[in-house]
Amino acid sequence: MSNCNQNSGNCGCNKPAEGVSRRSFLRTSAVAVAGVAAMAAALEPLRDLTDYTSMEKFFQKHYREMTPDEMGLVLKRIEKEVEKQYGIRPHVKDYKPMDGVEFVYCLNLTRCIGCRKCVHACAQENNLSRNPEMQYIRVLKMPHGSLNPEEGQHNYSPAQVPEKGFFYMPVACQQCRNSACSKVCPVKATWTESDGITVIDYDWCIGCRYCEAACPYFARRFNWTKPEVPKERLNPNMSYLGNRPRRQGVMEKCHWCIQRTRAGKMPACHDVCPAGARKFGNVLDPNSEVYHILREKRVFIQLKEEVGNNPRFYYYFDV
């Protein structure tokens, strides 16, 4: 290859003609400058980036790996962040499951009138984003005679509920015993606790949304952008695995108001229900209402039983 064709003017081998190296230097510089400028232009949107991550947040451990001391520091940091953003000092706690407790939810389909009060109470209690609007509970308006959700209507808005010929079926996280979401999560950011509540570590989730694809109940929600809660509507009683403000790019879902139920209270949706359709409690306690319902009712169902997730959420009828 050394005997190059001298007739071709632009062969850069052997002895380059005088001036070529200067010209090529200038050309290279021009290309480099243009490249840097183009790169800067491409990266320009990053200037709007505020408060994305910090060393502390970046290296924060998985919920189940943290020592109580480490958790204490994280809770303090979260309180500070919330105060900075909303001007309200919240109480952020890490509520732990109680011994001898397994929660179960029973919903009476004969009684539910489809008023969606639960939907709104849930948003208020759990600091759900109002813009864009997020809801954990979806109430389906069902024609008589079918329990197939595909028959249901999602966007009903009559002047008055209930309407003749229909019943109403609220659906939120079913807190499955064999939960598809925690099985598919590649980073163990979601798991079922000993009291039966499936929780999410919002600070560990990578936002791949595989759990959202896996959930047979359309129960999981993703923060497609930064969630917004108006200051005056913020619930300052918060928990790490529950209703503390979430960040852009992570999953969330119903957690049976962990900050209430692990402190001996009932979920917000339960307390607000005007029809008394919702029953919640410890199924291991023979004196609980849910124990009684599952023992005495002739018919109660798990939604989509055939999928095999074995929910802790039961629907029953007044029969």
Binding site: C4, N5, L43, A180, V187, A189
Partner: protein, 432 residues
């Protein structure tokens, strides 16, 4: 030892330098690709700041074109095995040197796959949670954790095999069989595994009837072994045109045989699925109905899937007929097959799985502009990577870039034509 490292670094350095040398067509092509990459990067920066709200995905349709493209490209990567199998199992000499081009395509494809998964993440800053040992790797339960293992493993295997063979050629040494043949066989099984695992990603979801079907895995493989080699047929012809590298028609026709059989199996499996879905008319047919005929007045995907079906059928007939022994018709068949399968394995597989939602809601999806630009950026990045790989590997395979020619300038390595016309080179020169 130090000398060996020095040699190797020098090899890498020369390869890297080679990427910057070419004629005006090369600069135009790579320049355009780089510009498109930057457009994609810009779109991704917007997404990074404002969140995935910049896409048209929703809680109802929570995966879109990113995962669609990912699924398709995993198949392309897997198809490198379709070049390797004839060579190493059936001793097909015709395809021997072409294996490298297939494997480099696999490397470029896996890079694209990783990019597509990364842009789909809501919190890319937390990627390290996925790293085994440091993060919390949900292995073996999560199919996504399997995918992380098989894709990265496949990347390493192919980089190693290509890297070893090219470096041996560069040094003018005969490759030591024990250093690469075992890995070639591992890579064959691995290639099948990457697409099977990607299929299982969907198949494993019991709540999604459209995906929860045993035939999805085999269909993935059949379509991958159609679209992948089809893409290689086109790529090889481009290589033949723009470089002096000699690729025989016979090699292309061997690949035609592979595409032919795979396409027949692909269409047959599709037929099986369509029959099962529509004949029994179970309650679970709504996703398939939505895809092929529309559901309750929603039919965004209908024109797409019928385009895919028609393209696939035309491609199949072209491939069966003797006319596709002429390269012109073979190219047409390949393009139709690639586009058809890209639609079918991408949007046609991922999106209808979400429609209707498990609670029966119908929310349609089509990608946003920003989302599309990110995809364009990643495709351009893939093409750019493959172009650069070829720019480096072709001169090595031809012996123009080697240890023996260490003092030759990069320009001479890339433009040997002038030298060859004087030296009366036996190799066929590239047509301008």
């Amino acid at each position: 030892m130090i000398q060996a490292a020095k040699n190797y670094i020098r090899f890498l350095w020369r390869c890297a330098n080679l990427a910057f040398v070419g004629d005006w067509r090369y600069y135009l092509w790579t320049g355009t690709l780089i510009a498109l990459c930057l457009v994609g990067l810009n779109a991704y920066c917007k997404q990074f700041v404002h969140g995935l709200v910049t896409t048209n995905m929703s809680d109802q349709v929570s995966w879109g074109v990113y995962i669609s493209n990912f699924t398709f490209i995993v198949g392309v990567a897997a198809a490198a095995a379709m070049l390797v199998i004839p060579v190493y199992i059936y001793d097909n000499e015709e395809l021997h040197d072409l294996v490298i081009f297939g494997e480099l395509l696999a490397v470029a494809s896996i890079l694209m796959c990783l990019a597509f998964v990364t842009v789909d993440l809501g919190r890319p800053d937390r990627f390290w949670h996925l790293i085994p040992g440091i993060g919390q790797f949900n292995f073996p339960h999560s199919m996504l954790s399997w995918d992380v293992v098989v894709l990265n493993g496949y990347l390493v295997l192919n980089v190693y095999i290509c890297g070893y063979l090219l470096y041996a050629r560069y040094r003018g040494l005969k490759p030591t069989k024990w250093f690469y043949i075992p890995f070639v066989f591992i890579a064959i099984v691995w290639a099948i595994s990457i697409h099977t695992v990607t299929a299982f990603l969907y198949v494993g979801l019991g709540g999604r009837h459209f995906w929860n079907s045993a035939i999805v895995g085999p269909r993935f493989l059949a379509s991958a072994f159609t679209a992948g080699p089809a893409l290689i047929i086109l790529a090889l012809q481009v290589i033949r045109k723009v470089t002096a590298y000699r690729i025989t028609d016979k090699a292309l026709l061997t690949l035609r045989g592979i595409v032919q059989v795979s396409m027949l199996i692909n269409v047959f499996l599709l037929l099986n699925e369509v029959f099962k879905e529509f004949y029994s008319k179970s309650k679970n047919v709504s996703s398939a109905t939505y895809l092929f005929f529309g559901l309750e007045g929603h039919h965004a995907l209908v024109p797409w899937i019928w385009t895919a079906v028609i393209f696939n059928l035309i491609a199949m007939f072209l491939l069966i007929l003797p006319m596709s022994r002429s390269l012109k018709w073979l190219d047409v068949a390949c393009v139709l097959a690639i586009v058809g399968i890209w639609i079918e394995k991408g949007m046609g597989l991922v999106v209808p799985g979400f429609i209707p939602t498990p609670l029966g809601e119908i929310v349609e999806y089509s990608p946003s502009l920003n989302e599309t630009l990110v995809c364009v950026g990643i495709w351009s990045f893939g093409f750019l990577a493959y172009t650069v790989f070829l720019r480096m590997s072709v001169p090595i395979l031809q012996g123009r870039l080697s240890k023996a020619t260490e003092n030759t300038s990069m320009h001479d390595v890339v433009f040997p034509e002038e030298a060859q016309t004087i030296g009366g080179g036996s190799k066929q020169t590239a047509k301008a």
